[in-house]
Each structure stands twice: as structure tokens, then as C-alpha cells.
């Protein structure tokens, strides 16, 4: 890997501080209905329209668990190389809030469904393993809306009861960059598995960030603060930087760090204490008597394991071996399952290496430009592969290929047709080219003389003239060779 070295420390007057970060990621489980009720989980419905009597905690309502959510948690656990617990228990986490109708959240406390696992990160300074402490299932809360009315808060329970996986990492992360890589990796794994769509704008992936600092070389952890509910990687990174710096300043000034819950204010770019939550921190967990312990049969776990798709780490290895890609290319192309699928289809029909280059270049730029996912690409894998092959065979030049690509985008036509109908085929016939170049040279006798008397720079002028008169179709390599030969004469 690269020779770059890990170097993220907060510098204080009295030395360098290492930042220790652990994440509790809340990932919304992909399922049609909620964890304990049959209401829809679809995003963007009218307020309180995806709410059942259970989600709104009417008297006498009881939870019944969604089997798909259990499977999704197991799949995710397997994807994180984690231990699946055959016995797990649902507990009640008790606290009062307007958007928590039951007055408790059903979660898992002492016996989570998934135990320890690990995630591998590719960092510029090498690969790094991040430990997973546990994964458990829990209910999401509803949404409180504070800005619709000056004296009242409005409550929408559409989210109430949607299944979340809380994925708790060990305090193994050391920089905002590692957090970025970790979240992206988790997201990628879950998207491969189809267990979470990872859509951060819609709140499908959010995290509580635990931050502490310690002098470089210290073995003991410092006092940590928990920054609640951060919903973008950028904000996580900003919050960590702010919080770590704040803690270092406190330490350097000889002050204590309070272990507390903090909020990241995205407008002011700072974290602040959430004192109001403090007294409610006694959650009084106890096993939910409306539910029984969940006993998973090994057979089910084995079946799920067998049906898992190839995950990014494995796929990356294969791409390097099978397609001769370098680590960087393989990493990019396996980052999303859809991207890897697209690549593999193209690679089947064209040059593997060139396909990778063109995908990561022009195709990604175009998709990015249009804000499209690769699954919505206006260019099919078949057409894209034909384009790559046309370049490979020398039929068109890279420059012409860009032009063809643009036309493909506009018309949706296949590249062969475009190349033919527009006469874009590269001129690679030496005789024809030589004839054309001779004509150009005889028209520009003065320039030829200047060149011969030492003005080397004029070579570019002649190339330009050839391209101009060929409409860009002249094979550049051949043009160079012939020009050199004729100008020598």
C-alpha cells in the first residue's frame, strides 16, 4: 500500500493528543413493515398515515415481531463477520418523550442478537481492522416538529416502530478519515446485503459518536462524550474535530471533562451539552414481558449464511485477481454492489482494464454530473462495452470516444452506429494519412522550413492541422510517426 503514514493528532501546548472514537450506528432495516407492527415503512408518507394502534401505543396493544427484521439483523451480523447469538432478549428502555408513545423503546440490552465482529478499512497507510462490539434490533421513535407553531410541538409517528439495527463499534477509530471510511464500509456491506439502504438524507443511517482524547502513547482512555444523532459523515467529521479540540483545551487548562451527552449544532458548527436529557438517563431496562426470548435455530443461521451475496472484501480480491485491477481500482469498483455489477457486465464484453479506466473516468463524471445512480445510467452495459472495445481496437481514438460518449448520452444509440453514421472511424490507413499529411506540408512550406531550421515547437502545429483536416479522426500515433518521417526528409 501507499507509504503515507497515519497522522491525525490534536496538537496542544503540552503535546500531541490521540483522538479515540467509537460509533453507535443506527441503520434502518430494509423491510416492508415495521419491527412489531404491520404498518408500512415507506419514506415520505403523509403525517401519521403509517401508524397502527400498536405504533401509537393504544391500551392493550401488543407487539409481534417481523421475521424479516430478524433475518436482516442476522445477515448483517454475518456480513460483519460477527457471532450470531442463538438466544437473545428484547428489553424495554424506559423514558418519556412526546415521540415515544409507549413510554419505552423496545430494544436489546443484555442479550443482543449479534455479538462481536469486525470490519476492514482500506486506509492510505494500510488496512485497519475495526472491532464491532455488538448489533441489536430496536424500534425507532417518531418525529417531533418544533417549528410549526410557537407554543406547541407537533408529533408524527410514521417512523415510530420502524426497525433499526444499532451497530456498536469498539473504540478503535482514530480520526475523522477513519470514521468516513468506516461508515462508508458499513454502508457498502449493508447495501450489498440488502439489509439497509444507507440513505443518510432520509435518516436511514445515523450515528451517535463517542469521542475522547488522550496524550499520544497513553494506554488509558480519557473521559468520553457522546454526540447524539449525527446524520451525515461530514457532520460527524466536523463534530469530532470540534469535540476533540474542546476536550484537549479543557485538559490543557487543567479542567475535568464531564461524561455527558452532547448535541452537534450544524449551524454553529459546535457541540453543546444536552442537559435536559441528563436526569432521564436512568432507563430502567428490563426484559419486555410482552415478548419471549428469541431462540434462533442454527439451521436458519446456516441457510442465511449460504444465501449471502459476495461481499466487498471478497469481491475486491477477486477483481484484482480475475481482472488484473490494482487495489485502488478494485476498491472503487466494489464500493457499491450496482457499480460492481455494471463493471462485471462490461468487463465480460470488453477489455477489463480499459473498461475500469473509462468507468471511473467519464462514466462516473457523467453520473455525478447528472446526480444519477449507476442503476439509472442512461448508457447500458452493452453499449458501454462496445465503446470500450472500439477504443481498444483502435477504431476510434480516446478523444473521439468522448464525443461518441456524448452522442450516446443524447440519443441512446449504440456506439457502432454513431461511429459509422458520423464517420468517426479513426483514420489508421498509413497511405491515406501520408497523402493527407503531404498535402498539409506542401501548403505550409514556410513553416516546414522554420521547423527544419530548429523551431521544434511547430510539430504541434502540424499535428493540429492533421487533426483539423481529418475531423479529429486521424490515428494520433500514426500521425506522429508519419509527420516525423516526412519532416526529416
Amino acid at each position: 500500500m501507499s507509504k503515507e503514514k497515519f497522522d491525525y493528532f490534536i496538537k496542544g501546548d503540552k503535546g500531541k493528543y490521540e483522538v479515540v472514537i467509537g460509533l453507535e450506528v443506527h441503520a434502518q432495516v430494509l423491510s416492508k413493515s415495521k419491527l412489531f407492527s404491520g404498518s408500512s415503512t415507506k419514506f415520505g408518507a403523509d403525517p401519521n398515515n403509517q401508524v397502527s394502534l400498536i405504533d401509537s401505543a393504544f391500551p392493550g396493544m401488543l407487539p409481534v415481531i417481523n421475521e424479516e427484521c430478524i433475518k436482516q439483523a442476522v445477515r448483517t451480523g454475518l456480513g460483519l463477520n460477527a457471532k450470531i447469538n442463538n438466544y437473545s432478549v428484547f428489553d424495554r428502555k424506559n423514558y418519556f418523550y412526546a415521540d415515544l408513545p409507549q413510554g419505552y423503546q423496545i430494544s436489546q440490552y443484555k442479550h443482543p442478537i449479534v455479538g462481536e465482529g469486525k470490519v476492514l478499512l482500506d486506509m492510505p497507510y494500510g488496512s485497519k481492522e475495526i472491532g464491532i462490539e455488538r448489533l441489536h434490533l430496536e424500534q425507532d421513535a417518531g418525529k417531533s416538529i418544533h417549528d410549526m407553531d410557537p407554543t406547541n410541538t407537533y408529533v408524527d409517528l410514521n417512523r415510530s416502530g420502524i426497525a433499526l439495527m444499532e451497530i456498536v463499534s469498539k473504540p478503535d477509530l482514530r480520526s475523522p478519515d477513519e470514521v468516513n471510511a468506516y461508515i462508508k464500509k458499513l454502508r457498502s456491506i449493508m447495501r450489498y446485503l440488502g439489509t439497509c439502504d444507507g440513505n443518510m438524507q432520509e435518516g436511514s443511517l445515523r450515528a451517535d459518536v463517542n469521542v475522547s482524547v488522550r496524550k499520544e502513547g497513553d494506554k488509558n482512555f480519557g473521559t468520553r462524550c457522546e454526540i447524539k444523532n449525527v446524520n451525515s459523515i461530514k457532520f460527524m467529521q466536523m463534530a469530532i474535530e470540534y469535540e476533540a479540540t474542546r476536550q484537549v483545551e479543557l485538559i490543557e487548562n487543567g479542567k475535568e471533562i464531564d461524561q455527558e451527552t452532547r448535541l452537534f449544532d450544524t449551524k454553529k458548527n459546535e457541540t453543546r451539552s444536552m442537559r435536559s436529557k441528563e436526569d432521564a438517563h436512568d432507563y430502567r431496562y428490563f426484559p419486555d414481558p410482552d415478548l419471549l426470548p428469541l431462540k434462533l435455530e442454527q439451521k436458519l443461521i446456516d441457510e442465511l449464511k449460504k444465501s449471502l451475496p459476495e461481499l466487498p472484501d471478497k469481491k475486491k480480491e477477486r477483481f484484482m485477481k480475475e481482472y488484473g485491477l490494482n487495489a485502488y481500482e478494485a476498491n472503487v469498483l466494489v464500493s457499491e454492489k450496482e457499480i460492481s455489477d455494471y463493471y462485471e457486465e462490461v468487463a465480460k464484453l470488453s477489455d477489463k482494464k480499459l473498461a475500469a479506466t473509462w468507468m471511473m473516468g467519464d462514466l462516473f463524471a457523467m453520473l455525478n454530473d447528472k446526480g444519477l445512480d449507476i442503476s439509472k445510467s442512461p448508457i447500458s452495459t452493452k453499449h458501454f462495452a462496445e465503446l470500450v472495445q472500439s477504443i481498444k481496437s483502435g477504431e476510434i481514438s480516446g478523444r473521439i470516444a468522448k464525443e461518441v460518449f456524448e452522442i450516446m448520452l443524447e440519443t441512446g444509440d449504440n456506439p457502432k452506429k454513431i461511429i459509422e453514421s458520423k464517420g468517426l472511424k479513426q483514420q489508421s490507413d498509413p497511405k491515406e494519412l501520408e497523402k493527407m499529411i503531404n498535402e498539409i506540408l506542401s501548403k505550409n512550406k514556410d513553416k516546414v522550413d522554420q521547423y527544419k531550421s530548429g523551431k521544434d515547437k511547430l510539430f504541434g502545429f502540424f499535428v493540429g492541422q492533421v487533426m483539423k483536416s481529418s475531423g479529429g479522426k486521424a490515428n494520433p500515433q500514426l500521425t506522429n510517426e508519419i509527420l516525423k518521417k516526412l519532416l526529416k526528409g
Binding site: 401505543a57 393504544f58 391500551p59 392493550g60 407487539p63 436512568d282 430502567r284 414481558p289
Partner: protein
């Protein structure tokens, strides 16, 4: 016209089937009784128009094959009833109208019966005398100034006073069996999971069970058959084939082994209770059953265990009554937290608040292990006591309560003495097993006393059969005069 309302449910059903009485006339007779029994304060809500409507529908198109053909029934106001106010005896649900019907009541209606009204009960079923209800004390028809027991006190009072041919209650620590015992009626707490809890206002989820309250064992079998059954909406519902308890009822108990637990002979137990127990043993022996002395060594810890587990679950179950989505909301409260505190303080009565505080405390950080966890361990021991015993015996015979009905106000100032009333009934809830209380005698004041039969899980048929045999042989007759008229 003969008064049909003092007959058993089974006899009434016969009269309906043989067309000796119409459902409408039957319903009118009960309405008449209810209207002249306001003093008992057994009802929170009456649904006479609804009942008469349903009765008429039945008479126009009778279906006599049903278990409860054309039978009007009043039920404890803890069962949610669609479009009919459901209060749980609390101010906090004073204006609550569910849009749904509890599974158990729906089962009853599907078997041909219909709702006559909602019966008073202790607030959120927390009480042993019906004195914690927001809707006032209920009077025991056995005698003016006597409590009907609790928490299903409206149910026991209405049943004994012929205001409903049968009824249902809920039993978390004795709330069916103790009031049955106090009113000379039959009450059964089924195996945990036999009757669905869906749509029943929850008190303590791991202990709550709905069950029948009736005048006879046969009636009890009919009602249990009608109300029980698997419900996919309740994760703790047991998935098993429905039993025909009434058809299979038989009084031959020859050769059955009946356990007599020595721990149920407690200090200061009235002589009459002891005599009643002896009477029960003698009847069983005479019928060819074998009495076996057994020990349930952790019995004395059942009540303290119960008073940790039940309040803990209740403190969480009752968190949903916060004034946000339904029920009472205090007019005071500038911000959300103040609104919560005022709403819950004004909406709940003293006993409920007391239990919420106990429950909150035993679960709170630093106390969980010493109280809640400890109680769950002791609960395991109590369950094991029963499991061990049931390898040797078929059923257990005990008294239902340590005393007969007491006077209103007699125990309200001392919560522990009130709690002690459930000393014989609570262990069964902790173990999740079925138990039946049936009237078997009276004390010297003439107040009824009950015997309790405890079975192993899902052995309802067996304890019903034993009860049936005792009932036939002890010749108990409830002598209630309608003094309230």
C-alpha cells in the same frame, strides 16, 4: 313470570334453545335488575340499546348452535370494546373510546353473546377490594358495606346480584379468584397464554390473564371455551387446539392425586377457613381421590416477589398514559414535562401512583439487582416448587383467601394488610398455571368462602372436573337477598 336471572348460564342457554324465553326478554330482565341495583355501583357504563338491538337481531335470526346463543353479558371495564368507553377504572381513561375490540370479548360475541355493559373495577386492576376505582366503591351483594373483592369487583358483584348471567374478569394476582370467593361465585384464572391479552388494558404483562366468572362450574367451562384460543396478535398466546371444556366436563375424580401444601396453613388464619379446607379434603377423599401432603417451600416469598414484579411491569405499562394521544390531559403544564407530571398526577389514583413509584424504584439504576433481578430469581424458585409437585400429583387444593369479605374502608389505610389478601392466589400467577376458586361454605356471619384448585399448565379440564365434583357434593347455596331493591 318466573325470574330467570337467578338461574345458571347453562340453564338460561337451555331456556333460550327450547324457546322458553327470547333473547329480548332475557335482556330486558337483566336491564331491569341493573336499573334497580344502582346502589351496588357495579357498572361504569351500560349499553342497553346496543344489547336490545343485538337481542332483537338474535330473535329474528336465531342460531342455537352457538355456545352463547343470544346471551347478554357485562364485562370488566378493562377489556377494550369497540366504540364503547373503556376506563380501566381510572380517571386517566375517563373519556377513552377504543376503535377496537379485545380478542377475548370478540370471541364471546362471535359465540353469540353481546355486551350489556362495562363493570367497575379497581383502577388498572390494582386492588383487592374495588376501593381504588375512580368510579367509586362497589358493594358486595352479600351484605351492605362489604367489599366485593378486587380487582374484578364489579364483575363479582354484578354476577352475584344477577345483573349478568356470567362475566369475565382479569387476574394478575388473584383478581378473579378473590372476588369470586368473596361473593360465593366461581372464578378461574387460566394458564398464562390460554386467553389472548390483546385489547386488554395491561397491568402486569407477565401475570395478567383474563378468565371467566360464573355461578357454576359448568358455566365456567362454557365461558372458558368461548373466550379462550390462540391469537396471533399476542406473542405470548399459546398455539394449541381448542378444548371443549363443557362437553368434557365429568365429576368422576376417582384415583386423582390431590396435593395439600402445608405452607398454605398460615398464622392467624380464621378457624372457618381451616374447616372449609378440611371439608374440601373430605369431599375429595370420599369421592375416591388420594390426598397427598406436599411442600411448596417458597410460598411465603410469593407475595413479596409479586410486589416487585407486578409494579415493575406496571410502571412501564402505564407510561403510555401521558396525555399525548388519548385520555385525560391536565390543563396545567406549560411545557411537555410539566404536562406529563400534572396529567399523570391528576389522572392516576393513589394506589396506582404508589405502585408506579415502587416499580420505577425497583428497576432504577443501582436497585435493579437487589429487587427486580432478585424477584425474578425467586419467581424461578416458586415455579420450580410447582413443577416439582406436579410430577407427583394431579392438582392442589387450598383455600382461596385467608378471610371472607371485609368491610369497606377496613384495610385502606394499611397497604400491606390489603396485599396479604392475595397470599393464596398470587403464587399461581407467578408460575403461570391455572387455578379455580369455587364457593364451598360460609363463615359464621354467613359470608361465602372459596376453595382453590390449582392445576399444572393447560390442565384446566382437570381442575374444572374436580371443581365439578366438589360443587355437586358440598351443596353450597348462595343466599343473597336483594336488599338493595
Amino acid at each position: 313470570m318466573v325470574d330467570i336471572t337467578n338461574q345458571s348460564l347453562n340453564d338460561i342457554i337451555e331456556n333460550i334453545k327450547t324457546k322458553k324465553i327470547s333473547s329480548t326478554d332475557l335482556t330486558k330482565a337483566y336491564i331491569n335488575n341493573i336499573q334497580s341495583a344502582k346502589k351496588l355501583n357495579a357498572f361504569v357504563t351500560t349499553t342497553f340499546d346496543h344489547a336490545l338491538d343485538k337481542a332483537k337481531q338474535f330473535d329474528n335470526k336465531p342460531n342455537f348452535d352457538q355456545l352463547l346463543p343470544g346471551i347478554p353479558l357485562a364485562v370488566k371495564d378493562l377489556f377494550c370494546t369497540e366504540n364503547i368507553k373503556t376506563t380501566a377504572g381510572s380517571n386517566i381513561l375517563n373519556n377513552f373510546i377504543p376503535s377496537y375490540e379485545s380478542t377475548v370479548t370478540k370471541n364471546l360475541w362471535n359465540n353469540g353473546s353481546f355486551l350489556l355493559g362495562k363493570l367497575n373495577c379497581d383502577e388498572f386492576a390494582m386492588g383487592s377490594s374495588n376501593e381504588t376505582s375512580y368510579y367509586g366503591n362497589v358493594i358486595n351483594p352479600v351484605g351492605d358495606q362489604l367489599v366485593p373483592g378486587g380487582s374484578s369487583g364489579g364483575s363479582s358483584s354484578a354476577l352475584a346480584a344477577d345483573l349478568t348471567p356470567a362475566t369475565i374478569g382479569t387476574d394478575t394476582g388473584g383478581s378473579i379468584r378473590q372476588p369470586a370467593s368473596f361473593t360465593g361465585t366461581v372464578g378461574l384464572k387460566p394458564t398464562y397464554g390460554l386467553c389472548s391479552r390483546w385489547g386488554i388494558v395491561a397491568f402486569a404483562s407477565s401475570l395478567d390473564q383474563a378468565g371467566p366468572m360464573t355461578k357454576t362450574i359448568k358455566d365456567c367451562a362454557i365461558m372458558l371455551e368461548s373466550m379462550s384460543g390462540f391469537d396471533e396478535k399476542d406473542s405470548t398466546s399459546i398455539n394449541k387446539k381448542k378444548e371443549q371444556y363443557s362437553k368434557n366436563l365429568k365429576d368422576n375424580i376417582k384415583g386423582l392425586k390431590i396435593g395439600i401444601p402445608k405452607e398454605y396453613r398460615v398464622d392467624n388464619m380464621p378457624k372457618e377457613i381451616d374447616e372449609l379446607w378440611e371439608k374440601g379434603k373430605k369431599i375429595l377423599k370420599d369421592l375416591g381421590a388420594q390426598l397427598i401432603d406436599i411442600s411448596l417451600p417458597h410460598t411465603k416469598y410469593a407475595l413479596p416477589t409479586y410486589y416487585i414484579v407486578a409494579p415493575a411491569e406496571a410502571s412501564s405499562n402505564l407510561a403510555r398514559y401521558d396525555g399525548v394521544r388519548y385520555g385525560y390531559r391536565s390543563k396545567q403544564g406549560k411545557d411537555l414535562i410539566e404536562m406529563y407530571e400534572k396529567t399523570r398526577s391528576e389522572g392516576f389514583g393513589d394506589e396506582v401512583k404508589r405502585r408506579i413509584l415502587i416499580g420505577t424504584y425497583v428497576l432504577s439504576s443501582g436497585y435493579y439487582d437487589a429487587y427486580y433481578l432478585k424477584a425474578q430469581k425467586v419467581r424461578q424458585l416458586i415455579k420450580k416448587d410447582f413443577d416439582d409437585s406436579f410430577t407427583k400429583i394431579d392438582a392442589i387444593l387450598t383455600p382461596s383467601t385467608p378471610s371472607s369479605a371485609f368491610k369497606i374502608g377496613e384495610k385502606t389505610n394499611d397497604p400491606v394488610s390489603m396485599y396479604l389478601n392475595d397470599i393464596f392466589t398470587v403464587p399461581v400467577n407467578l408460575a403461570g398455571i391455572p387455578a379455580l376458586s369455587l364457593p364451598a361454605g360460609v363463615d359464621k356471619q354467613g359470608y361465602p368462602l372459596g376453595l382453590q384448585l390449582i392445576g399444572k399448565a393447560l390442565d384446566e379440564q382437570k381442575i374444572l372436573n374436580i371443581g365439578y365434583a366438589i360443587e355437586k357434593n358440598c351443596r353450597f347455596k348462595n343466599k343473597i337477598k336483594r336488599w338493595w331493591l
